[in-house]
Amino acid sequence: MTPPPFQALLDAHSVDVYRFLVASVGPVDADDCFQDTWIAALRAYPRLKSADNLRAWLLRIAQRKAIDSQRARARRAVPSDSLPEAAAAPAADGEPELWAALRRLPHKQRAAVFCRLVIGMPYAELAELLDCSQAAARRSAHEGLKKLREEWT
């Protein structure tokens, strides 16, 4: 099967990818992660074996870019009382405290909670994204949600 035109992927999934990144790294770093995600996807696209589960494939790349970005930010970080994104872009992400709590979850749980509960991704697709079994994907979503609830309330 021929993969769809890359622009069709961008049209279909750019909102999910962008929101995932804003939730994962905050509105300031999301822009660069968004660019890096799509550039990496475009680079790998001709070698893609299967055109199934393209959304999961894209979000997996986005997750890697989010992790890279957080590591880079941690290396650059100077001690501070306020979150830089909160100061730079007030309310750009609606519920900054909720997303900040989500950002403190381990990567896998964070992606599971976002994809399952925010964009309603089926467990089969989530398993693809997390590269694990459906049962494990379900566990990640549940554990993440439980932890988030404890943190946030």
């Binding site: 769809p4 961008l10 962008y18 475009l42 609606g94 909720l98 988030l148």
Partner: protein, 200 residues
Amino acid sequence: MTDMQTALRGAAGTLPGPPPELERRLARRATEEGLVDVAYAAVDSPVGRLTVAGTKRGLVLVGYGPHEPLVERLAERLSPRVLEAPARLDDARRELDEYFEGRRRDFELPLDWSLARGFSQRVLRATAAIPFGEVSTYAGVAARAGSPRAVRAAGNALGSNPLPVVVPCHRVLRTGGGLGGYTGGLDKKEYLLRLEGVLL
């Protein structure tokens, strides 16, 4: 858990989508890094909205009608790395605008003939040599393509011209003066021939 679900869904509704500027920057960066095999853009014209597409070699497609099937064809025939990148097609858009405004008689764009092969390509190259304001016949271009008797095949090649307007298949008429056919619709062929002063 539903309280948390409701909170997450509600908060997600307030998350912004990607700003349009971000996607434009992405198209620019992808182009700079050489990752866009086929770029396309829309051009408004008196004969309707056109989709124009280019590769690194040159203009590869001018298409009438909805852009989705055209873009899918580009992905299948050329490369799936197809991106809307209007800046890459500035020259094509400018030359087409000038042509439709009556300020341009010849296109100077480099062309990529990938979507036409063999005899079809020879017919189209012969067609590209017909000057502005002049006409030829299906038999005439068949002969110039090296097969004087392949008149029907020449008609088919022109009917599937991937570069209408720029490769002027509208300048090819039936022997005896009938207009013949046109992929985009005969009204468009008439419009173009009127623009060039062939029809009154």
